[in-house]
Symmetry: none
């Protein structure tokens, strides 16, 4: 099956902004076995959008339209799709009430223009929006009409609204449409390996299978490997999945941190809960990114005690008790300082483990011995303190992202070893 | 005048790659006063590309097609455009010789397949490629034919080939075609206002102008307002921009935190540098998100000292000196605790200002008096400590995002007042 994605919004036709939603959506569609054959970006132009919708529905089975569902005059997606399909729209009081209620919960009154978001293209099913006011719309077009049998989904533009709506309400409907076969999936994630190295390692295994289908998605410091088997019976799908899965697991070993797609911070949270341990952090160049990831997990207050952002040498000494002589002798970006930071955090909070990060995020601040992108991760736990040196390439944001990711992975490996030891 | 850009290449339909050439091309076109009204990405699919070319030429004066000019079977752009225009192609021996010569200069022999690159759509003008083998193609379509008067340029996909060819051979031809307009832009950002409220407030101003064009983009807790004026002279474009800009500034007042698109953390960084002040943070439910945003700004080590992640009551007392009696009496999520956390951070670090966040990110942990989404922001600075209560809707991630955003805005307002006071 083929799909097309149309992103609506004049801002994506400026020299500054790209449609990045389509990358994530493409990944999701690929996992279903659906290929994206064309993508388009249009401004807030009803007629042009209607033309593109009609063209897409003449050739592709699935059409996703993102953006343009807001409350203002600029938001033309509902109108344009209705126009393309020759359908009228109906005002839905229940949707309007739900939007008004959302505003009321925030202690505010719904503005008049938000009523625009309560219009539904006739025959379409509204998809609830857990993070915003604009509902999505979904329809498999009925027989005997233009585009018969094709699926159309209108989704909100902001990623924070799009992602949960797609996962919860759009994906299951697409899955039903795509295949009457039984589908089984596995979703590995691997930390800190370059995509090309990983691919070289596992390609000999997965290229021998057309079923399961393997899709590899790379983000900084994090690679996702999706396996998807489709068979007449669930047993057969499970068998194929386990067969290829076992080979991939043998090749990657403990570099795999999850088999079900959980983020690294959730995997660590589970291990800490399991062992009844507690954690604290000490961050320099990441400035809170590590703590933010750890606490993104609901229930993290069960094992995360707290942390220190020590952005200056003085704060490393004052808050964590790092010896000023050590800072002078070794500098703040060193193995010794990383260890001292982790030990300080553990002593101050009384946590079982403490992880630290100190490095040079750049673009400035590098030296010949310690260029920008140099990062030390420290780890203190009962009986042992250690540090690892990394060198990340890329801009400030990428260096910080990689640093937090590798700090979590250093902790994961230690927790694994300690749990295995009992 | 309007333009469309079509990027050709299956790799840009994967979850990993975007068409980024169009950003640079859009910038070049905007400078000429040409607006991009639609962009598309297609794979190496002759028929689909031909359809999109035909559609684009029905509505836009300029069409740029990038990529698909290589020597392999996959490279379908020449064929597809010829098909869309109903034109034949001619093999040009002079171009073939030039390609062969290029290979010879590198000490290599031209492969047979490179001859494909010597075919020219009849009536089109080849544009020399100084960095690769594929020539570009250019034509203003002749009167009496489909697309009469419209300009079509086929350009190579690799940026290193595209950029010099566009600048040297395409841009001068386009400039001749368009009446040159001057473009001026302004990029406001507003914190903590719902999009519909903002739109209601400023729509009466901006809807009276078709020039400048106004585009409004909303993210959680952050709204962007882009103004863009196009006039025959730069002075006139500046005048129109200032005229509408002054009205928007009068309506939104100090809710506008930037006129040039800077993020909130950069604006605060500038104010802190300006006043020679320093900052620290104390975070509970955001767990590092606030510190992470502040330190995302290069050079933030000039004013950010450090901070505390106090995820438990005990840590609030231990690291920040919050009175346990106060925590028992008022709970950790209260105005009093927020103030005590900020004062503790300021005392511990010696910073001029300290901002704190304490709240319930959810989904669990809420009570009737303090439901999930309740957040207190505390602020301590010389002479005054204060706290503000917020109630955010949405999931854990959204509540945390909004909390950090509003904490930064509370700080910004205080810095503005203190700077004004001198």
């Amino acid at each position: 099956m083929n799909a097309e994605i149309i992103a609506v919004g004049s801002e994506m036709l400026t020299p500054q902004r790209l449609d990045t939603n389509s990358l994530w959506l493409t990944g999701q569609l690929n996992i279903l076995g659906v290929e994206v054959v064309a993508k388009a970006v249009v401004g807030d132009d009803r007629k042009l959008l209607a033309e593109l919708v009609a063209l897409a529905l003449r050739r592709s089975e699935i059409l996703l339209v993102t953006g343009g569902l807001g409350p203002t005059e600029d938001d033309v997606t509902r109108d344009a799709v209705a126009l393309a399909l020759g359908r009228t729209m109906t005002f839905r009081q229940d949707i309007c009430d739900a939007i008004a209620e959302r505003f009321a919960r925030m202690g505010r009154t719904m503005a008049e223009i938000n009523k625009r978001q309560a219009w539904v293209i006739d025959g379409f099913e509204p998809l609830p929006n857990s993070r915003g006011t604009a509902p999505g719309l979904w329809r498999v077009l009925p027989p005997g009409e233009f585009g018969a049998g094709r699926a159309v989904a209108l989704l909100p533009g902001p990623p924070a609204e799009l992602t949960p709506m797609f996962e919860r309400d759009c994906l299951p409907r697409l899955r039903e449409l795509v295949s009457p076969l039984e589908i089984r999936t596995r979703f590995y994630r691997v930390a800190g390996m370059p995509e090309s190295d990983l691919d070289q390692l596992i390609a000999p295994a997965y290229t021998r299978y057309t079923n399961p289908v393997t899709t590899i998605l790379a983000k900084p410091g994090d690679i996702e490997i999706h396996l998807r088997s489709r068979c007449r019976t669930a047993d057969e799908a499970d068998r194929l999945l386990s067969e290829l899965g076992a080979q991939i697991e043998a090749l990657l070993g403990d570099r795999i941190y999850t088999r079900d797609g959980d983020p690294l911070e959730a995997v660590i949270g589970r291990m800490l809960r399991e062992s009844g341990s507690t954690l604290s952090v000490a961050e320099s160049c990441t400035g809170g990114l590590l703590g933010q990831r750890i606490t993104a997990v609901p229930g993290s207050s069960g094992y995360f005690l707290g942390g220190f952002l020590t952005y200056t040498d003085e704060m490393k000494t004052r808050l964590l008790g790092v010896d000023p002589g050590l800072l002078r002798a070794q500098t703040a970006v060193s193995e010794e300082t990383a260890v001292a930071m982790a030990e300080g955090a553990r002593a101050q909070t009384g946590s079982a483990y403490a992880v630290s990060i100190t490095g040079i995020a750049g673009p400035d601040g590098g030296t010949e011995a310690t260029p920008a992108g140099s990062v030390f991760v420290g780890l203190s736990g009962e009986g042992k303190a250690e540090a690892r040196r990394f060198r990340f390439l890329g801009d400030r944001e990428r260096v910080r992202t990689m640093a937090a990711q590798m700090a979590l992975d250093v902790l994961r490996r230690r927790l694994m070893a300690d749990l295995a030891r009992g």
